[in-house]
């Protein structure tokens, strides 16, 4: 069993680590969206939800540590593979035609760092240095009423959408789940998760900017 602890030493193992940590993060992103949707139920609902979470420090901190660990190993594996993969080509092709890959897959090395910057900003904005501690509703509405902040959230969540599409589809392959009979469902699932999360997350800054959600 201790052999599993050496998984990170191989390129295949690094992808397995990225897939497992990625699934943890996908699960969080979906749960996070479901919680945030209470913004549409008014200040009492979302502030009450936030207060309830904060009343359970062991649960919150366990989740935070798991997420921090998942993000850490996800980035460490990605960085190590990136370093290796850029070395592996040697000299560049003068002509190169892509036959199968898609935009989301080709831009993973862009969407990843954009996401990281977005997550750091997002945590500072709402969790670490909120303008009105305890009043989530007010923080969100006042924040998104600033067009530049809303724009950054929109860009960050579009990057999340692309990252999720390739990530979810690809994680199954990394974990060995590829069967001709089920591959279409795998693609459908990736599209569904990507669409729900992106549309849901984008709705918040857009709703505030458009004036649907006000103080």
């Amino acid at each position: 069993m201790q052999g599993a602890l050496t998984l990170h030493q191989t390129t295949v193992g690094k992808k397995v680590i990225m897939a497992v940590s990625g699934f943890i993060l996908v699960g969080f992103v979906i749960g996070h969206l479901l919680g945030n949707l209470q913004l549409y139920l008014g200040p009492e609902a979302i502030n009450g939800y936030a207060a309830k979470l904060h009343s359970m420090p062991p649960v919150v901190w366990t989740a935070r540590l798991v997420l921090l660990f998942a993000v850490g190993v996800h980035i460490a594996s990605a960085f190590s593979l990136w370093a290796r993969n850029t070395q592996a080509r040697g000299s560049r092709y003068k002509q190169r035609k892509d036959l199968a890959t898609d935009y989301a897959a080709r831009t993973m090395y862009w969407s990843g760092p954009i996401l990281l910057a977005f997550i750091v900003y997002h945590l500072l904005h709402f969790t670490i240095l909120p303008a009105h501690p305890g009043d989530v509703y007010r923080n969100v509405v006042e924040g998104f009423q600033v067009p530049l902040i809303a724009a950054f959230y929109i860009v960050g969540n579009i990057a999340l959408g692309f990252h999720l599409f390739h990530g979810v589809y690809s994680a199954f392959q990394s974990l060995g789940a590829n069967h001709p009979r089920y591959n279409n469902y795998r693609r459908d699932l990736a599209i569904a998760i990507c669409a729900v999360v992106t549309i849901g997350d984008l709705s918040f800054p857009i709703a505030v900017l458009a004036g649907f959600v006000t103080l």
């Binding site: 052999g3 390129t11 295949v12 080509r89 000299s91 560049r92 892509d98 036959l99 199968a100 890959t101």
Partner: protein
């Protein structure tokens, strides 16, 4: 598909050994019949170069029947050229139009040092096979054919994976120059057959370790390898390799062996 003769401009990568920087040279291919294979076209160009006292363009080939996996070059940015499921030697000039410009490059990968021009050293693939792509069996006279029953479905799958001819197009086409499709095809092929079970537990670990040691990149699931493969070897074998490796590493009691590039 006509009988017309093609006049083409070739931009060919010329490189005199691994330590040479390499450069493109432009040559004309004149009066090329559309019935010629791509390699026959290069033969014609080389005849002219030899007559002029110049160095012919070096390229690899053997059977010219699309089954040995020796030939291969990147033609206009595509490994083995524009026709699907076709090796360079089976690519015919009717795929091109009069006046076309054609860019010819070798497989570019750190694991495949250039020997000359379009010829690369693919012995890294041999070393991946040597690391674990074998079975232990009693040699001697042929055993009774039905002694080891193999389910039809398993036999079909093993044959699909075993279609790999080791040409290296997967490495050439992969954005990361990964040899995953090749390695996976070999691991999958043996893992499906009863003869492959004895070494199954260590095979994936050994072959993946060797693949990594040769300087190839990792798989990021773009699917370029499958699209370029002249034998249509499927990405599903990479998923199978991943399963084989995880299972082997969970069960293994010894740490993975570190391997050198040329062991």
């Amino acid at each position: 598909m006509s009988e017309e003769l093609l006049n083409l401009t070739l931009h060919v990568w010329r490189q005199n050994g691994a330590n040479d920087a390499g450069r493109f040279e432009t040559h004309q291919a004149s009066d090329i019949s559309t019935h010629m294979s791509f390699l026959e076209m290069l033969d014609v160009v080389n005849e002219e170069l030899i007559e002029k006292g110049e160095q012919p363009i070096a390229f690899d080939y053997d059977c010219r029947e699309g089954i040995c996996g020796t030939c291969g070059m990147v033609i206009n940015g595509m490994a083995h050229g524009p026709q699907k499921l076709t090796t360079t030697c089976q690519l015919h000039m009717r795929q091109f139009n009069d006046g076309d410009e054609i860019w010819l490059e070798p497989w570019r990968a750190s694991g495949f040092p250039v020997i000359k021009d379009l010829v690369v050293d693919r012995s890294a693939l041999d070393r991946i096979i040597q690391a674990g792509g074998y079975i232990s069996i009693r040699t001697g006279s042929a055993s009774e054919a039905n002694e080891l029953p193999v389910a039809k479905e398993d036999a079909d799958k093993a044959m699909d994976a075993a279609e790999c001819i080791g040409c290296g197009a997967c490495v050439a086409a992969c954005p990361n120059a990964s040899a995953s499709l090749f390695t996976a095809a070999k691991i999958a092929h043996l893992s499906l057959l009863p003869q492959g079970q004895a070494e199954r537990r260590d095979r994936a670990r050994k072959m993946v370790a060797q693949m990594d040691a040769e300087g190839f990149g990792g798989c990021t699931n773009h699917g370029e390898c499958e699209a370029a493969c002249p034998k249509g070897v499927s990405l599903r074998w990479i998923a199978r390799m991943n399963r084989e490796l995880v299972r082997a590493m969970v069960k293994a009691d010894t740490p993975i062996q570190r391997r050198d590039r040329a062991s």
